[in-house]
């Protein structure tokens, strides 16, 4: 136990050093950061505009009001973009670490290779989206007049952590396939498209798609289930209850798969 805590401390310290180093090099490219942040804000504004325009045509979206849809989008967005900020770098595994041979460098160091991949970059242009989505959650909650009990607040916090792990495990599994294919970009690119499903109540989809959203690409746990529970919507009761717990399970499975992939790794060497 004591050993574990020591190890955790060590990794936290190293992450911090990486983080500082990252920001130092980042500030060299200020315009890149500013423009990246601006374009992310634009993309968020556009998806809100879409929702607003849709609601000029309808009163409720399958029983969900405009504010409830905002809450759903905000909650899912907060989880997704927080994960994207810190744990996104794994998606570069194929092209930027395996093919280039950089993975060898990581394997030589006495640090967990997965940690090194994560820590190698911070995708800070997600920051405006994280902030905007948190604001959206609070705005929507206020509009709805949401009154959460202490237990529900704990549920919300646990679900968000669990949601981040769920998303991280999806990224990890898809990226790990790069040990065989050498490429992870396309798979992740497809996930980007699929991640848009998080913004809608899953009842609207065919059952086969719903099944997909709780198993192979379980984003429903990172968005719909927690939002639906907090809003007091009917249905999917068991799913909502397990939501705060599934993240670690999914991530454990993904991590085993990563270990397996890593054992199959052979350097492109030159």
């Amino acid at each position: 136990m004591k050993e574990n805590i020591e190890a955790l401390k060590k990794y936290a310290r190293i992450y911090w050093l990486y983080f500082i180093q990252y920001w130092k090099s980042r500030l060299v490219y200020k315009t890149d950061f500013l423009l990246g942040a601006t374009s992310q804000t634009v993309s968020m504004a556009v998806s809100l505009a879409f929702l607003t325009l849709v609601f000029t045509q309808i009163e409720t979206f399958q029983g969900w009001t405009f504010d409830e849809m905002l809450f759903l989008a905000g909650l899912g967005g907060t989880v997704l973009f927080t994960q994207n900020m810190f744990l996104f770098n794994i998606t570069r595994l194929g092209e930027d670490y395996i093919l280039s041979g950089d993975m060898d460098r990581f394997l030589l160091r006495p640090l967990n290779p997965l940690f090194q991949v994560y820590a190698d970059d911070v995708h800070d242009n997600n920051l405006p989206k994280v902030i905007a989505n948190i604001a959206l959650v609070f705005y929507a909650a206020l509009q709805i007049g949401l009154n959460l009990s202490l237990l529900q607040i704990l549920y919300a916090a646990a679900s968000m952590v669990s949601g981040i792990l769920v998303l991280a495990s999806i990224y990890l599994v898809f990226s790990t396939t790069a040990f065989w294919t050498g490429t992870s970009r396309n798979a992740i690119w497809l996930f980007f498209r699929i991640s848009n499903f998080r913004k809608y109540p899953i009842e609207i989809f065919a059952v086969a798609i719903q099944a997909l959203l709780v198993t192979l690409i379980p984003i429903a746990f990172a968005s719909f289930f927690p939002a639906s529970y907090l809003l007091g919507k009917e249905g999917f009761e068991t799913w909502k209850m397990v939501t705060p717990l599934v993240g670690p399970v999914f991530y454990y499975v993904a991590y085993r798969f990563w270990k397996y992939g890593l054992s199959k790794y052979s350097s492109t060497g030159s």
Binding site: G36, T38, N186, W189, I204
Partner: protein
């Protein structure tokens, strides 16, 4: 201008596309995912209220919008961005060929590839699953003409924002902002006829509706005056080309090359 000289740039663009065939497969996957999402979202919207247009017409519009978007994408921002960052833009300028025509012909090659591997599959999916009707010959030809104008508009717009890279040094974020804005204003996300009149008027002040809504209105026969649709597309093309040229003249005077 020597056409054969420029066609070699088209070949390069086409070849680059062929090199990354995996991307093409992923492109089809991405099209299918987007269409599935749009299908269910619009089905739910149609079930939630009384829309002025039946669901089958809306979903055909959405599918056609995807076809057009897939067939006419341009990414000159990255092309210029990469070269400005590495400094190799100088090599491009040294070639005995004008920069904008090099870019244009290269992009035509890239787009031809995209049209085949991403536009055509989206169209087939639309016809089989999403109520897209096969048009008559004259409508079909008019649509293709309008689509070609859209392609030129997309290239002109991308060229224009790419010129800003000479100031910003980065291209991807400019492109992202351009494509997301285009998604909203062009009709790619929501059929423009479902938008309240006063807001729609604002949309029409931008070049974007000419890029998606216009060819669809020809395809679906909702355009009141086909000549007017073409006229608007051409006017926007002239405006964008002029703006791109003016920006290039400004950019030329301040080209700084990174590194060295």
């Amino acid at each position: 201008m020597k056409l054969t000289r420029y066609l070699s740039f088209t070949k390069v663009g086409l070849g680059e596309g062929l090199q990354y065939r995996g991307n093409a497969v992923a492109g089809i996957g991405s099209t299918v995912i987007s269409l599935v999402l749009f299908y269910y979202v619009w089905k739910a919207i149609a079930a939630s209220g009384e829309l002025t247009v039946p669901f089958s017409t809306i979903i055909a519009y959405v599918a056609l919008a995807r076809v057009i978007n897939n067939a006419t994408s341009a990414n000159i921002e990255s092309w210029v961005g990469e070269r400005v960052r590495k400094g190799t833009i100088v090599n491009e300028l040294k070639k005995p060929a004008s920069l904008k025509l090099q870019i244009y012909f290269y992009q035509i090659g890239r787009s031809a590839f995209k049209m085949m591997v991403r536009g055509v599959p989206a169209f087939i999916i639309g016809v089989i699953f999403l109520n897209v009707s096969i048009p008559g010959l004259s409508t079909g030809l008019l649509f293709i003409a309008s689509l070609m104008l859209t392609l030129n508009l997309a290239i002109a717009l991308s060229y224009m924002t790419a010129m800003l890279v000479f100031w910003t040094k980065v291209g991807w974020s400019l492109r992202m902002a351009r494509t997301t804005l285009a998604g909203l204003f062009s009709g790619a996300m929501i059929p423009l006829y479902l938008i309240p009149e006063n807001i729609r008027q604002v949309f029409y002040l931008t070049p974007f509706p000419s890029m998606v809504d216009s060819p669809i209105s020809i395809y679906q026969g909702t355009a009141e005056n086909v000549l007017q649709v073409f006229g608007t597309q051409i006017v926007w093309l002239i405006i964008l080309l002029t703006a791109g040229e003016l920006l290039w003249r400004k950019a030329k005077t301040k080209i700084t090359v990174q590194g060295g």
